[in-house]
Every structure is written in C-alpha cells, then in structure tokens.
C-alpha cells in the first residue's frame, strides 16, 4: 500500500465544484503527515484544463466521450479499474450528489471500508482518525481509520476552497486503461442523457440580497409564509427557505438556500424554524450575521448563529414586523 491520498475531482458543465478544492486541502494535510502524495483523479471529456488549478502533486486524467456527463456506473467502472492497480491510503469523495453514490458503490465493489458525512480526517499517533457529523448536525462521531485503504465521503466545513487551489498550473497526466471502451459502451445502452436545465432565474436573486428572512419547516403552513414576507418587506429584504419549504412548493426553487440551492452571503440571515442541517448551513457560512429563531434549544443552528432566540416564530414575527415598521 502507498501512503498517497487520492481525491476524486467533481465537476459539472466544465466547472470544478468547490468541494473538490476543500478535499484537496484536507489531502495536503494528510499527505504531509503520511509522507505520501496528493493525487487528484479527474474523469471527463475534454476537461484536461481543469487540472491547472488543483492543489495536488499529480493529476491523473481519464478522458473518454462516455465520461462527458456524470454517469454513476461509468465513473464507478473507471475507479474500480484504477484502484485494482493501486492501493492508496485514502480516497476522498465529496458526500454530494456525485461523490456520495460513488463512494458507496466502490465500497461495495471492492470491499473497502467507508466513512460518510466526514467533516475531517486528522493524523493521530501514526494513524488517521475521522470525525463525522450525523443526525442532521446534532451528533459528532469519531473513530480510527484502518491502516489499509479506506474511502471517505466528505462534507464541507473544515477546509477553505483557497487552501486547495494552486497557481502552479498543473497539467493532467493521462492514464490509459485497458478495456475501458468496452466497459463504457456497455453502460451507454442503459443511460441516455436528455439535457441540463439551468435553475429558473426567479423574480429575486437571493444571492444579492442584504437581508434574507429564511424560513424552515418550523413555519408549519403555507399561510404562515405571509408573516415572513411582511417582515422581509419591512426590512427591504427577501424571503428564502430550506428544502422542505421548496419541496412543498410553498416557495419557488430560486429561493432555496443550501447544498442543492444557492449559497448566500447577506449582511443578516434570519433563520426562522430552520434546524441547521449541514446541507443547509454549508451555504450560509458567508453571512455577516446569522440570527436564529428556534423553539428547540439544542437545534444545531445555534452552533453557527451569532445570535439566537428561543421563541415560537409564529408569536415573534407579527410583533417584530410591527416594531420594524414603527422605526420607519
């Protein structure tokens, strides 16, 4: 086994996703401790240019037309073939719409152990330990990784994007794989790509608002949304929401904050009845001030918010809106 740390690079529509840089930052730290190298693994078609700013010692590149758009079975097949020849210390994936399923699939295929929801891996007396965040951010779990090859699915939080970028202008090292055409052709019959849809622009661009009045499941019913809208109007801000609110169609997708929605950086982010699941909070860390209103004192949002209020938001909102109006 080598001491190298592999990082699976995620990209969509020709753009590297932020999680990839965060993982590279993590990998650099671990490689420094293990004495190995950071190897970025880039799969795709005509995307060799993406290698240039990756903070890795080596970028392995597999180019194939069938790898142009992400297909789980194709990426899995390539990774299986790659790992059949190498045994790195760790392979890092994003715990994301792309990496999460790949890490699980690879674990099943190769019988390698997997740790998901991982916030951080750190060296500890010659071994590596992991810290994962489960139960919607309410619990942390820690343990020792085996000294053999392990797979990690990482969530954002512990590392910054800039730490994983490099201005050394790397070039990609093509990796030839025997029998690849055959494997990929087999899957081509099974998945037919129909096209991408960009998110609808929507009436409001929540990434540009100074104040976001953001509502979660604690708002309880569609009727109550007007309470949030009233406050947003009074503060000259906009209403955004967590995933359950968008899934119920109480707000349009353009207002979704989080992993599958927008990343926002307002001056003030009012989190009303939002528990603070990692898929939500990863997109609000850039806010100047988060003010959380939640009836549950143990809600994880209070670990991130600058200010907290433990009250029923339905009681607070009308009174607060009146007070704000009175100031004008």
């Amino acid at each position: 086994m080598s001491q190298d740390i592999y990082v699976f690079i995620e990209h969509v529509c020709g753009k590297t996703l932020d999680i990839s840089y965060m993982m590279l930052a993590q990998a650099q730290q671990l490689a420094a401790a293990s004495g190995g190298e950071v190897v970025a693994i880039l799969l795709g078609h005509n995307v060799a240019g993406l290698a240039s700013d990756l903070g890795a010692d080596t970028v392995w590149y597999v180019d194939h037309p069938e790898l142009e758009d992400f297909i789980w079975a194709n990426s899995l097949a390539v990774l299986e073939a790659l790992l059949a020849r190498q045994s790195p210390r760790l392979v890092l994936f994003g715990d994301t719409t792309i990496g999460s399923g790949l890490a699980s699939g690879l674990s099943a295929r190769l019988g390698l152990p997997l740790v998901g929801y991982c916030r951080q891996v750190f060296p500890n007396g010659g071994h590596f330990h992991y810290i994962s965040q489960i139960c919607g951010g309410k619990m942390l779990v820690e343990g020792a990784l085996p000294d053999s090859t392990a797979l990690i699915a990482m969530i954002p939080g512990a590392f910054r994007i800039e730490q994983g970028k490099s201005d050394e202008k790397h070039s990609a090292t093509p990796v030839p794989l025997d029998g690849l055409d055959e494997i990929l052709a087999r899957n081509a019959q099974k998945y037919i790509f129909k096209g991408y849809t960009e998110p609808a622009a929507g009436d409001v661009d929540i990434t540009r608002e100074k104040i976001l009045v953001s509502v979660g499941r604690g708002i309880q019913s569609e009727d109550n949304l007007s309470l949030a809208q009233d406050l947003a109007d009074a503060l000259e801000g906009a209403v955004s929401g967590s995933r359950p609110i968008i899934d119920q169609s109480w707000l349009p997708t353009s207002r979704l904050v989080g992993k599958s929605g927008k990343t926002v950086k307002p001056k003030v982010y009012l989190a009303l009845g939002i528990s603070g699941a990692p898929e939500h909070t990863e997109a609000i860390t850039g806010a100047d001030a988060i003010i959380a209103v939640n009836t549950d004192p143990s809600a994880p949002i209070f670990n991130l918010a600058k200010y907290g209020v433990q009250l029923d938001l339905l009681d607070l909102l009308p009174v607060l809106t009146d007070r704000v109006r009175a100031e004008k």
């Binding site: 996703l17 758009d69 789980w72 079975a73 899995l76 719409t97 792309i98 999460s100 399923g101 790949l102 699980s104 699939g105 690879l106 674990s107 295929r109 019988g111 152990p113 997997l114 740790v115 998901g116 929801y117 489960i134 139960c135 919607g136 309410k138 619990m139 779990v141 820690e142 343990g143 020792a144 085996p146 392990a150 099974k190 998945y191 037919i192 129909k194 849809t197 998110p199 801000g237 979704l256 599958s260 927008k262 990343t263 001056k267 100047d288 001030a289 988060i290 143990s298 994880p300 209070f302 670990n303 991130l304 200010y307 907290g308 209020v309 009174v319 009146d322 007070r323 704000v324 100031e327």
Partner: protein, 256 residues
C-alpha cells in the same frame, strides 16, 4: 411493474438524542425511531408510479421499535406488500449490512423488481447510502438525488439534482436503482381511518435474517454533541422584549 422500496428507520431529530453507556453510539432504546424523510418520498414515488401504470409495490424494513407503524402506513398509502426483516439489530445495523440483507431477500424470490427506490440518504448512516450499495451488489444502474420521476413505455426518465439548482434529465433502462431526493409530489397524508383499516385487514410478512455482516463500516470510538466554538449569543425575554432587542440589533448591524 414490480417496485421494491427498502426503507430505514432513523432517529427522530425533534426528540432529545441520548448517547449509549459505551459512549460510542446512540442509546437505541431511548431513541424514537421514525421513517427516514427521504424514504417517505421513495414510498410516495412508488405509489405515484403504481397509480399511473399499475404494478406492485413492496416495502421492506428492518425490525425496529416503530417499524410496524411505518409498514402499516405504507399499506394505507397503497403498498401491496410489506415485509419486516427480523433479527438481532440491537448490536447495531449498518447500511452495508442492511444492503446485504436486502440482496439476500431478493435472492430468495423468483422475480426481481424492475425498480428499486431508496431514499437518497439516512441521517444516521455513517457508512454510505443504501441505494448505491444495492446497485453495486446487484450490478444494476443507479441514479442519485432524483427529484422527479416519469415513466413511459418501460422507460424511466429521471431528473437528477446538482448543486446550485442545476438539474440533468436522464432516461434509464429498467431494472434500475434510484436514490430519491423528492417524490413528484410531497408524501401524502394518511387519515386515521385508513390507517386503522390497514392495521385490521393488512398483514406484515416477516423474514428472519441470519447473522449480520457488518463489514464495510468503520467502528467509532466516541460520540458527542458538537461543542460550538462560538455558540449563539441568546437574546432573552418575552416576545415584546425580544422584538425590541432585535430592532436594536438590526440598527447596529446597519440593516435598519
């Protein structure tokens, strides 16, 4: 069309979470177990597809405190068969072991499902997600984070989500495993009368499982609640007092 929905129970995060004596895991008895939110969407999507083109929906779940309720709910919603995997899960069941149980269950049946719908993730799984594990063990195609599913002429078209609101549409051949993020419409509400009827007339099949193979996961040494470096500064008082303090805070922050 045969649809299988293997589901998981997860801790109810609204309740207080209690750490077990050994300090490594949740206290299973003190935890209230509910269906994983995304599995609820997977069941809903299965029922929606059945309503559209007919077929048979089977929901299968490991036997936890609360499993029977969840399975009767599934019957009340329109599932045709519900199956409880019964075994000693007290020592902790992980996702790899559950995937192997489901594979084993399928091996004992003469007919394979055309479609396997799983929730995209479960909030307490440390060792990955059920959908891709199943797809890899069964050598089936898989699409994750599916937020829309349509069916026509034995072809499934799914909408997969990417970060930032981008989506991609794929047509996939059956049989396939999908990781459901959201059903086409939110999970339906089950009136008590329907639930009572399901409990009276429906039945839960039980499958005994043998020894669990927990490999694929990594042991934990410690579980604890996050110590925030900087916990929120709490603004105390009744509604009026808090509103007044918030107005002052808005001014201080320069937004009012």
């Amino acid at each position: 069309m045969k649809i299988l929905v293997p589901i998981q129970l997860v801790p109810d995060l609204v309740e207080e979470l209690v750490i077990a004596q050994d300090g490594k895991r949740l206290d299973l008895d003190a935890t209230r177990w509910i269906i994983s939110e995304f599995d609820d969407h997977a069941i809903e999507q299965a029922i929606l597809l059945k309503e559209k083109i007919g077929g048979e929906v089977t929901v299968i779940a490991p036997d936890f405190e609360g499993t029977e309720d969840v399975l009767y709910q599934a019957l009340a919603k329109g599932a045709d068969q519900v199956v409880k995997l019964s075994g000693d899960f007290q020592s902790e069941l992980n996702t790899h072991a559950l995937a192997r149980l489901v594979v084993h269950y399928l091996q004992t049946k003469s007919e394979r499902p055309d479609l396997i719908l799983t929730g995209v993730q479960a909030n307490s799984s440390l060792d990955g997600s059920l959908g891709p594990l199943l797809a890899a063990y069964l050598d089936l195609p898989f699409v994750d984070c599916v937020a829309q599913t349509e069916i026509e002429d034995q072809k499934i078209t799914v909408r997969k989500e990417y970060p930032g609101g981008l989506t991609a549409d794929w047509s996939v051949a059956l049989p396939v495993v999908l990781g459901i993020q959201a059903a086409n419409t939110p999970p339906r509400y089950v009136p008590i009368s329907k639930m009572r009827l399901a409990m009276k007339t429906g039945s839960i099949a039980t499958e005994e499982v043998g020894e669990l193979d927990l490999s694929g996961a990594v042991d934990s040494t410690r579980m604890y609640t996050p110590e925030a470096d900087q916990r929120a500064q709490m603004i105390d008082g009744d509604v009026d007092q808090v509103a007044e303090k918030l107005v002052a805070l808005f001014k201080e922050l320069g937004v009012l």
